[in-house]
């Protein structure tokens, strides 16, 4: 056991810090820091800079374009990105479908898709959930019927984040309606420009459009776009969900949020003195900070187990549960720290730019938007109730 950083690690930290200082576009940083949805253009512009540096995919093996960082280096980079409010790459390509492709895909698929993910030439979205199949994902109904060298896909996906930005969608589809639920599913990669696909926006409680419905009507998808074997899609889907759950803890972002809450509370006054001097406020913030530290070391402990070749069962669920609870508590506290200036709220889409000038202090633009959106954090990626079911069954044997 050892927590110290080597001289090389410290040099690496300086390198990351300097890179972010020099290369992160201020507009991208600003949206990320405020907790606003990225713009497509800004996100891609930043990802191209990351790609040029070779830092697009820290978790990929080196042979596919990963960074080859040690777990300590990954930890350092994540921390620095978080503190600098530098967005990480959108997860759908790099963190979700990428690992599925290099783990289960064939050579042609690897050659075709992985470089395009790294270069941000394809924006991916995740077509898992359906109106009738959320927590019970395996009950999904979207059908794919074989017709020569194609599948013909019919059905509907919902809650598809950023489908309106996407070039590609990875989809779970039912290829064998007669088999047991989990055994009749296949994993398809579908070009969003294929005829028969319609994307319909869903406006969220934050009044922004990040969610969508995606409709498939006789959509022809080449059989070569299937990952792995027919009817084995559930295996790949679960592999992906396991990865999703780890990333979702977002420890580094929460550490930055702690700093922001402190900054806001130092500027806000309460009873004639800075809010940060209010013992009740400090007590609340401190409780979150200690929980966050415990989470951080839990994550590191798990990563270290993985690096030492040990197998985890459902432990990542713990990271997802606690990580999302902390994210919600932090944005809630941030909104609380604004006093009544938490209440003004105008969605960006209706009033292009108007909300950029918040009637209150500048830092009041953002927290409510993030607070609203993050109510979803305990729902997406497998709800926290489902995660608790998984831990009780898989880890505790209940």
């Amino acid at each position: 056991m050892d927590l110290s950083f080597s001289k090389e690690d410290l040099a690496f930290r300086d390198e990351v810090r300097e890179f972010l200082q020099n290369s992160l576009p201020p507009d991208v940083k600003d949206r990320c820091d405020r907790g606003l949805h990225p713009t497509r253009e800004g996100q891609i512009r930043w990802q191209k800079i990351l790609h040029e540096k070779g830092w697009m995919a820290p978790n990929w093996p080196k042979e596919y374009g990963g960074t080859g960082w040690s777990i300590t280096q990954k930890y350092i980079a994540a921390h620095e990105f978080g503190q600098a409010s530098a967005p990480i790459a959108t997860p759908f390509g790099v963190s979700m479908v990428g690992p599925v492709i290099y783990t289960f895909g064939n050579q042609e698929q690897k050659d075709q898709y992985l470089p395009r993910i790294l270069a941000s030439e394809d924006w991916w979205c995740q077509g898992y959930s359906e109106p009738g199949s959320g927590s019970d994902l395996a009950s999904l109904q979207t059908k794919a019927v074989r017709d020569g060298d194609d599948y013909i896909v019919n059905g509907q996906k919902i809650w598809t984040s950023y489908a309106h930005y996407a070039d590609m969608i990875f989809c779970l589809v039912r290829t064998d309606p007669k088999a047991k639920q989990q055994e009749g599913i296949s994993f398809l990669l579908i070009d969003m420009k294929t005829p028969g696909i319609t994307v319909k926006p869903i406006y969220g409680i934050d009044k922004e459009n990040s969610l969508n419905e995606v409709f498939f009507e006789d959509v022809r998808v080449p059989v070569k776009n299937r990952i792995g074997e027919e009817n084995k899609g559930w295996t790949y889907a679960k592999f992906l969900l396991g990865n999703e759950r780890t990333g979702i803890a977002r420890v580094a972002r929460s550490k930055r949020q702690v700093v922001r809450v402190r900054e806001i509370a130092a500027a806000e006054m309460s009873g004639g003195r800075p809010l940060i001097e209010d013992p009740d406020f400090i007590a609340k913030l401190t409780r979150i900070e200690v929980d966050l530290m415990a989470l951080e070391y839990t994550e590191l402990r798990m990563l270290s187990m993985l690096a030492n070749g040990k197998k985890l069962s459902a432990e990542p669920s713990l990271l997802k549960i606690r990580g999302t609870e902390i994210q919600q508590r932090l944005t809630e506290l941030m909104v609380e720290s604004l006093g009544m200036y938490g209440a003004p709220y105008e969605p960006e889409r209706d009033y292009a730019g108007r909300n950029d000038i918040h009637p209150g202090p500048d830092y009041a633009h953002g927290p409510m938007a993030e607070h609203l959106y993050l109510r979803a954090a305990t729902i997406y990626g497998g709800s926290n109730e489902i995660q608790r079911n998984i831990v009780s069954k898989m880890v505790l044997g209940l």
Partner: protein
């Protein structure tokens, strides 16, 4: 002791319930919230015709002489429908300040117009640095000739856009935190020297910030005794808190019913999700929080007329603290139990969550009132 409603109170409740049912379907409410004004003048006229805008005012000025209990009955029903009209701002806050502090002339000039639905009011008390402290007033009013000159910034004035007159708290003497030296002024919306910034709030309502720059008012703009407004403000805000508690109770009960219905209908894993014990227990906790809040809201409505100031203030602080805590829990969990559906603007539950979120903040959040209660109990 009796928590039951009288026949007349029962009729009042029926009539507000009917109004909400007829006019506040979730689609109709969403449309109104997105409209330019954010509420309906037609509804406002209807409320006047039904006598609601005169409910708490004395019969001498054309009101119905109702008390906090009648206000609570109405607010609870309005909370169920997330009603958007500026009833609290105009009738409870504005009307309350005018009747408590105003001269006979001022009352005569304003209250009948309010009751008829021809005048709206808003109360500008908060400032960028005041947070929830009503005594923290930095806006100044200095004597000048017969009148006053006002300077300062008033923030997040609910319905400041629609109001014909703004009631502004300003300091005529003393220092920022002093309770003494605060005065109230009646200012015409649009007066020269008054700059308004309009915006929407997260709960679908409207608010505004005001900048007062050498705003000149006559001596007749002073509402009440110069420098002695603080006790009046406190008293009227206590009533507003009572009203907000009732609104929150209505909103929580409705949110719970919507959620309860949803988890009975929504199926996953072949069964209604309401069959999962963890959700059953969560729903029970939500129900208990709403019930506890209902008890506190009824309690405070009955205690608002107490002469014993300390007892009254403790009741108000305790009620707001309970309701604030419950509003957060019920609002957040209603979304959680809906899954993705709870995150959509089109579906009603998110709107309950958002109004419950702002009620928790208004006139002091949960922490603020816990602290106040502790101080009053010491």
């Amino acid at each position: 002791m009796d928590f039951e409603l009288s026949d007349e109170q029962g009729m009042l409740k029926d009539s507000v319930e009917r109004f909400v049912k007829d006019n506040y379907s979730s689609e109709a409410r969403a449309k109104l919230a997105d409209s330019e004004a954010g509420f309906s003048e037609d509804h406002w006229k209807m409320m006047a015709e039904l006598g609601w805008l005169g409910m708490p005012f004395a019969e001498e000025v054309g009101g119905f002489g109702g008390g906090a209990v009648e206000t609570a009955i109405m607010m609870e029903c309005m909370g169920r429908g997330l009603v958007l009209e500026p009833f609290l701002a105009t009738v409870i806050l504005g009307g309350g300040l005018v009747t408590e502090a105003g001269s006979a002339d001022q009352i005569e000039a304003i209250i009948p117009a309010v009751i008829e639905g021809n005048m709206k009011l808003a109360f500008a008390y908060a400032e960028p640095k005041s947070r929830f402290d009503l005594n923290n007033v930095e806006t100044t009013a200095s004597k000048s000739g017969d009148g006053y000159v006002l300077n300062g910034h008033k923030s997040v004035v609910y319905h400041g856009t629609a109001a014909d007159k703004i009631i502004v708290s300003a300091r005529t003497s003393g220092n920022a935190m002093d309770e003494d030296g605060i005065s109230l002024f009646l200012v015409d919306n649009g007066a020269s020297g008054l700059t308004r910034r309009d915006y929407r709030t997260v709960d679908g309502q409207r608010a505004a910030d005001f900048t007062l720059e050498n705003l000149k008012v006559g001596a007749d703009a002073l509402l009440g005794v110069e420098g002695k407004a603080y006790p009046v403000i406190e008293k009227v805000v206590e009533r507003a808190i009572g009203a907000l508690c009732a609104e929150a109770v209505g909103a929580m009960q409705q949110a719970n019913e919507i959620t309860n219905e949803y988890i009975k209908e929504r199926k996953q894993f072949g069964v209604p999700i309401g069959k999962f014990q963890v959700l059953q227990h969560r729903m029970v906790d939500m129900y208990m929080e709403a019930e506890q809040s209902k008890s506190m809201s009824d309690m405070v409505a009955m205690k608002l007329s107490l002469e014993d100031e300390k007892e009254r203030k403790r009741a108000v602080a305790a009620a707001k603290a309970q309701v604030g805590k419950a509003a957060k829990f019920v609002g957040q969990q209603s979304i959680q139990l809906h899954g993705g559906m709870g995150m959509t603007d089109e579906y009603s539950i998110g709107h309950y969550f958002k109004r419950l979120t702002t009620i928790e903040m208004l006139f002091g959040n949960t922490d603020y009132h816990f602290k106040k209660f502790a101080e009053l109990s010491a």
